[in-house]
Amino acid sequence: MPKNILEVKDLKKYFPIRSGFFSKPVAWVKAVDGVSFEMQQGEVLGLVGESGCGKTTLVNVLLKLEEPTSGKVFFDGLDLFNMDKKDLRRIRKHLQIVFQDPFWSLNPRLLIRDIVGEPIKVHTELGGEELVKRVGNLLEMVGLPRDGVYMYPHEFSGGERQRIAIARALALSPKLVVLDEPTSSIDILSQAQILELLKELKKSLGLTYILISHDLSVVSHMADRIAVMYLGKMVEYGPAEQVFSQAAHPYTQALFAAIPTLDTEGIDSIATIEGNVPSAINPPSGCRFHTRCPMAKDICSQKEPAMVRLGGGHTAACHFINQK
């Protein structure tokens, strides 16, 4: 049995809302409210949800870009929230991220050599010609010409910039790469190419991915396991095939129904979820989805549903699912 590369236990991140400058917080934004999951080496976890569901906050906390409120994260068996700065810096080598927006994730004033070479410079002694060669190799690996080393980010298209961001993330041969909406701001052809590239790289380098997206169809190409988040909570989690073929939670079903594909016949066959994501400051009582759920009954607003096991590691949090 492969070992767990990442274990997240009851992770919470609350942001305080203060009314005055030095005053005590008057309320809390519960961006991530008790999320737990495990990941094995070489697997792809698809993290899906609308904007505001807390998926980006979750990642920021995982990468220690923000301090957690409570909970534990073990990376490769090491407690991420309980280590000194030096160890943390060493760990960062193995834990990389590719951001959503390829236009602002690359420093516009630096050459590609310095952008992709930065992690190498920070963590190793490599410099000069050696560094340029390394960066050139990395560029080739992501399907860009070596000459790109001496160019500026603005000389590349959106899809190409995202390849550069991937090259940077891979510069130190990380174990886990977080892909935060890697294709949501580039067009569809580049999206297909980037997903394909990520797949190839995973195969050849044995990478583990957390792939974040609001689009289930993007996740469908890659994920082994899928976690659906709504307002800081995980509502469904399980092997990709099962979630796709038998989505249990009404929210997951709604996410599927909203995607226009080539098989969609006309506008009436795509469905929307009524209303907006409620505020995370005072999330709805009981099941957080009940304000928009087509199946909502009285119990949904009173009692928070527990995760129900559906077999095969597939779980969902809804009152109307029959336990298997």
Binding site: K93, W104, L106, L110, V122, G128, E129, V149, Y152, R168
Partner: protein, 297 residues
């Protein structure tokens, strides 16, 4: 050999950038003109000791025989009360004004940029302390503060420069800080943090280069303002001292002879006017091209 090749390669894209910038600068006629005049001014400043017709009139020598002569073939801009050639002195004044302005602005930048960047990027208490100190300086009108400092240090050109630098840096600090606060939220800064880049490197490698554009614009406009301030200080007797051919000082002395010798005040005044104007125009032009997002085409 291979190493030098690498350096050449890494310079090439920068040259491309500069060429693009120059191309964009050249598109606006007013900017093109101001750039031309600025280059002319700098050249003049560099070679002025060798080209002026009467170098002996610049510092020590006087020529009482020809005092207060109107402009003529011999003295293009006329002469002053000691018979010195005003043309020579105005031309040489370019050197003094540009030098003092560059040094004063440069000093202000050296103080202002790191402080602002650190305040903006770090936030919290550090930010509070730096910015409140800045606020203290900003609460005085800059000219008044410069006058006070110059008066305290004693009247000389060097002290005037220092006084201007001290009264000017808070403006850059505030400007940079505002930029840094927004830049630090950019994803590339987050990316650098995720990589494990040390904070000091993030500030000076990522944040400062991206905040610098508006500061360059501001600084190039300020060169005009600083020249004006130095002239003002000299006019008040707090800057350059006689016989230094500083424009403000010349205008100041000319007051006594204004009714019979118009040329005495007009030409140094015109020099101040033109210099301040072209630096402001250049600053405007720079603002248009320095934003990496708007300059693609």
């Amino acid at each position: 050999m291979t190493k030098s090749l690498g350096i050449i390669k890494s310079i090439k894209p920068r040259i491309r950038e500069v060429r693009l910038s120059l191309h964009l600068l050249g598109r606006n006629r007013l900017t093109r003109l101001s750039l031309g005049v600025v280059i002319l001014l700098i050249l003049t400043a560099l070679v002025s000791p060798f080209i002026v017709p009467h170098p002996e009139h610049i510092e020590k020598e006087t020529n009482p025989v020809d005092k207060l002569q109107p402009p003529s073939g011999k003295y293009f801009f006329g002469t002053d009360e000691l018979g010195r050639d005003i043309f020579s002195r105005v031309i040489y004044g370019t050197r003094i004004s540009l030098k003092t302005a560059l040094v004063a602005v440069g000093l202000a930048l050296i103080i202002g940029i790191p402080l602002g960047a650190i305040a903006g990027a770090t936030g919290g208490l550090v930010d509070e302390v730096i910015m409140r100190i800045t606020d203290i300086f900003l609460s005085f009108p800059p000219l008044l503060l410069a006058i006070a400092i110059a008066a305290f240090l004693g009247p000389s050109l060097e002290n005037a420069m220092l006084a201007i630098a001290v009264s000017w840096w808070p403006w850059y600090t505030r400007l940079i800080r505002g930029q840094a606060v927004s830049i630090k939220e950019r994803q590339f800064v987050k990316a650098a943090r995720a990589i494990g880049t040390p904070p000091i490197r993030i500030i000076f490698g990522h944040i400062v280069p991206n905040c610098i554009a508006p500061v360059i614009v501001q600084a190039s406009m300020d060169i005009g303002g600083v020249i004006l301030t130095i002239a003002s200080l000299s006019f008040l007797g707090l800057g350059a001292q006689s016989p230094t051919p500083e424009w403000g000082l010349m205008v100041s002395t000319s007051r006594n002879y204004f009714l019979n010798a118009w040329w005495y005040s007009i030409f140094p005044g015109l020099a101040i006017f033109i210099t301040v104007l072209v630096f402001n125009l250049l600053g405007d032009g720079l603002r248009e091209i320095l934003d990496p997002r708007t300059r693609k085409i």
